[in-house]
């Protein structure tokens, strides 16, 4: 019976851990996405600046 209790608990625990692991993977993906988006924003900003200069030079 003791084994039974243990195995039941471990079944639940494993599912809970797996849900947590997925959440961690999501955080990692979000982190990369944020970096990527900042990169794009900076590139955009730079581009606008360059365009602005180009216009001014015309």
């Amino acid at each position: 019976y003791l084994e039974d209790v243990k195995s039941q608990a471990s079944g639940q625990l494993m599912a809970a851990e797996s849900r947590y692991e997925a959440q961690r993977k999501i955080t990692q993906v979000f982190e990369l996405e944020i970096l990527d988006l900042y990169g794009r924003l900076e590139k955009d900003g730079l581009l606008r600046k360059l365009e602005g200069k180009a216009e001014a030079a015309e």
């Binding site: 039941q8 079944g11 639940q12 599912a15 797996s18 692991e21 993977k25 999501i26 993906v29 996405e33």
Partner: protein
Amino acid sequence: MAEDTQRNFRSVYYEKVGFRGVEEKKSLEILLKDDRLDIEKLCTFSQRFPLPSMYRALVWKVLLGILPPHHESHAQVMAYRKDQYSDVLHALKVVRFISDTTPQVEVYLRMYQLECGKLPRSPSFPLEPEDEVFLAIAKAMEEMVEDSVDCYWITRCFVNQLNNKYREFLPQLPKAFEQYLNLEDSRLLSHLKTCSAVSRLPYDLWFKRCFAGCLPESSLQRVWDKVVSGSCKILVFVAVEILITFKIKVLALNSAEKITKFLENVPQDSSDALVSKAFDLWHKHCGTPVHSA
């Protein structure tokens, strides 16, 4: 004694009119009533009998470890599984990797990739061969399992089983195929050899995709019952039976290309009988698993 005769008569009768599974269904229901499901007995049952459709998803989930053996925890564990499903699904929408128009099987693939830490940087990157395998299996699974949470989890664990538990066995299946085909019909094998077709047979379709996209789902799920419950060798006998069933056609084809092309698109109208015969072959060569229930 009289009762026995009557019961046998009834079984035979059911068998004739197509209710062959009545006795089996009852014995499965007894197994499923246990507070703590006996995984070994469920495996043996699934190895021996086709699972009744209404219990297939449940038994698969238990055998694949999506649900634990204890009935009492099923609701709680399934709630965790559902959370995980919606968390991952939502995350993919946030990063705009999927949209409302993304095909369901591709959604499953992306979810799986995210969970494995293998999500590519952009959805427009070309797919790897293993992704195509996942998609083919997910597509077939969609036809078998109605609920999308169940479908995702079963596909994910089915694919994991192929990649882990069966990793070492799957590459050996082409050799085994050749061996059993030789035992069953050596003339067919020598024809394949003459055409240099042996090394070019659709092994990926057979042994990586487990016939997903090759057999109709109604027959395929009976094969997958065996794969889920522990036998990947059944795949060999399905392949052998395909060759035997379409022997005349195959013997008439004289190039490896034509043979492979034909085998990739075999007619599907007799699939159910084909699968039954493949089971007979399997039992003949590997014995019948003892049903201890």
